[in-house]
Amino acid sequence: MSYAYLFKYIIIGDTGVGKSCLLLQFTDKRFQPVHDLTIGVEFGARMITIDGKQIKLQIWDTAGQESFRSITRSYYRGAAGALLVYDITRRDTFNHLTTWLEDARQHSNSNMVIMLIGNKSDLEARRDVKKEEGEAFAREHGLIFMETSAKTAANVEEAFINTAKEIYQKIQDGVFDINNEANGIKIGPQHSPTNSSMPSGGGGSSQSGGCC
């Protein structure tokens, strides 16, 4: 499957905020509450269209509690976008955002687009973090913000796609050097005549349940 660009995303945030569920909702359009807890990192991929261009999102879904420090750096390596997730029903997950953000800023390239996500918006009755608080945090730290529900799929598409739009815009603005893969952006096969034989689909796309 050919694409114009491939963007690498990373999903981060405390354990149990719904990172894997968000990913599954986005790639497979289903909600599966019982899901293996993530050890290390898991992957998902999906094709989206922005400005008439096919863009492949390659998403790294990380563990919320990682005891092996050195490995997290490799997750951030070359990520163009990050979804920083907290759970609106658990204030502690909101309180930990600062450390997550520090972590992300430290290990990623400075242009990485970060989307702050308050997940589980369907659980309004148990809400513990006001929407305004999320917005304020995002404003303060220069992030995009959305509340989502992996369960009802509310805003899930938008969260992933808006992040991609932001990245795309940065490419248009020349902020991202698309020839440097360390920025988390790869040019699709048909756009790079030099390596047209690259079997990008060989391992990359076949695993993505329901992508393309």
């Binding site: 690498k8 405390d14 354990t15 149990g16 019982v34 899901h35 293996d36 807890l37 993530t38 050890i39 290390g40 990192v41 898991e42 992957f43 991929a45 390659q58 563990a63 919320g64 509690q65 990682e66 005891s67 092996f68 420090r69 050195s70 490995i71 490799s74 070359g78 029903t89 658990r90 204030r91 502690d92 309180n95 930990h96 450390t99 997550w100 520090e102 972590d103 513990d128 690259m198 079997p199 060989g202 391992g203 990359g204 695993q207």
Partner: protein
Amino acid sequence: MAGFLSIESREVIRVEVKKCDGLLQPEYKRFSLDPQITSFEILQKTLTRAFGVKSDFTISYLAQDVSGQDVYLSMLSDWDMDAAFQTASDPCLKLKLDLKPFEEGLDDWDIIAPGDVPQYRFAHFIDRNSFLSSLTGTISSHVEKTMSTMQRTLGLKTELEPQYRAAKNPMTDMEFHNYLDSSGHMVKPEEFRISIYQGGIEPALRRVVWRHLLNIFPDNLSGRERFDYMKRKEKEYYKLRDQWREEFSQGTASEEIKYVATMVKKDVLRTDRMHKFYSGADDSRNLISLFHLLVTYSLTHPEVSYCQGMSDIASPLLVIQKDEAQAYLCFCGVMNRLRSNFLIDGEAITTKFNHLGNILQIQDPVFFEYLKEHGAQDLFFCYRWFLLELKREFPFEDALYMLEVMWSTLPPDHPELELPLMDPEYCPSLLSSSPASPTFSIKQTVYAKLLSLRRHKSTISKHSSSSDDSFSHSSSLNNNNSNEQTCCANEYPKMDAPEVQELKEKLSDIDQSLEHSMSEDSSANSSADDFSSEKCNGESDIGSSMTEGHTSNTDMEDQPQFQISLEMDQEERMLEQTQRCSLHNKQISQKSVSTPSKLAGGSVETLSLQKDQKSSDSLSAANSQSMKNSLVPGSVQNTQKNTDTSQKSQDDLHISDCVEVSDDDSLDLIKAKMNTPDLPKPHEFGCGNPFLMFLCLTLLLQHREQIIHNKLDYDEISMLFDRMVRKHNVHKVLHQARLMYSDYLRTQQKLHEQEMMEEFGVSV
């Protein structure tokens, strides 16, 4: 003769089988077999697999007696089977398979006091012995073909490619008892492990055998002693567990306990939920047991506390043990070895990455170079393999087999006196949130872990409590351990009031049922008994628990006594042990490695590898010690432990290599060449688990073509292996890993011999 001729000309006999299991609805299966190549043994095996039979059974066939009446005749041998083929197979041979409740309670064989079994049972079980051992005979490739043909006929999944079949059938009860003496002492620990290495363990037997593999027993206990030991340790566990549960139910638990409980709960609810055992409601008993087990461990081991991944380690232990306390003991046994995987310093994991990189570079420099070019030589995509010791890389049932094979390669590591169920620094008074109690060091672990991680702390402050008798004082709630106060509490965010409030509110299903069950069984461990008797897995043969089956004498008399068949008189036994020990000592004193190679058919080779000693001083110390104790089996290992408990520098490793039933060299094996001396020694390699390294190496090599051919980059390689979660072929992987492992051991042995020669300058 006409009958014989007609049979021989027949290519196929149709068979209809009816399986009867007590009052259960009979099951039917139909298949065809080739009378030319089917032996009675094959037929038994086929039926075993076709119906998934885990216990003993008898076969009979429908024939007509002289008066023309239908009658079932028993089929006990090839002779009977031939007779059946000739006389009763037209148009269809009707077989009846009767299950016997043979295995019931047997999994706890080792706790039965011997000697009070009527003699007649003896002969009875001898018969069984021959019956069962006939099932464990060698399999010719011819038989294999028949098996697979028949399996296909039966519509069974032919999951084993014949060339990857293990050299041996899984260990059975009968076989297991060969490794014990009449009173249940483990007398042949090497053979015991070698057998498991070669073929694993029958599922019904895992419950008992895993306890041995996981080093929960001190060395040299009799069956009776093991029983008493287990009882005592179970009580000890329940006491530990109930300490924090009481705080919970009284609402006096510290925030830290609640925090651990919340984290554990989250993970328990998403651990192996696809497995039948855990597929119940969120507050079902098995999930609660896993929750209890993990919280208890985390609280009583403040240095490790709770880390993601631990639920994956504990889950199969509980599935097999089916009892919370027993699973806890096994978990402690596993964690003794694995806890370093979960420490924040990351040293153990880093070492494993390095070692795997080293061996890959040696084994397959081309592939390694490829990974290097793509910046993937860090091998980080193998992280889960290390953390969970490959538990998630295979389908659940296959993972059990892989785990036991891997455990069997590890040298025995018995607890010196008893298996400790808690860290020395644990102090129950710290569980309480009462104002008088000091800050629990959990704060420095759980929070430290989550937060200091992100702040690049490479170490975790260890808080050693001086209260080493912590277990005995449960009422000391206002015990002031001043040294616990020294913790740097302000480095971590305070659990402010809203958070505490929030946590209280969020204690959902598990916590409620926890409190509920607390009031239900305030008297220690009654819940454990009925828990273990629950037939959680549909395996009725494992249902009976240790506690149930053996507390009453009448029950005990009903238990089959296998070890009696192995009985020899005391003198003989002493003699044998003496011989064993003196042999052992001889090995050590000469610092030599014995290699009893039985290479006759090139099929089985036994390697006996004495691990290297770091200094000749410690060696001679151990040596003289072991000479003194030469009448006590296993004294060598004990001495070693005494000499140096932290570094197991002189572990005794006896591993047999089986070149498996495979005569084709068309396997996509990279020819093993472990002949470079660069690899670490067995007790260092893979942090003391070299076989894990070879398993990981195998997984890498089995995908190298795919990776190189498709020119996968770093991300794609990571995704490839992520996709393989629970999908690797256990037989193929074990087969290849065993081959490489044996090469490695052989090389290590040669190196060792060379070192000996150099050190002493003489040849023996």
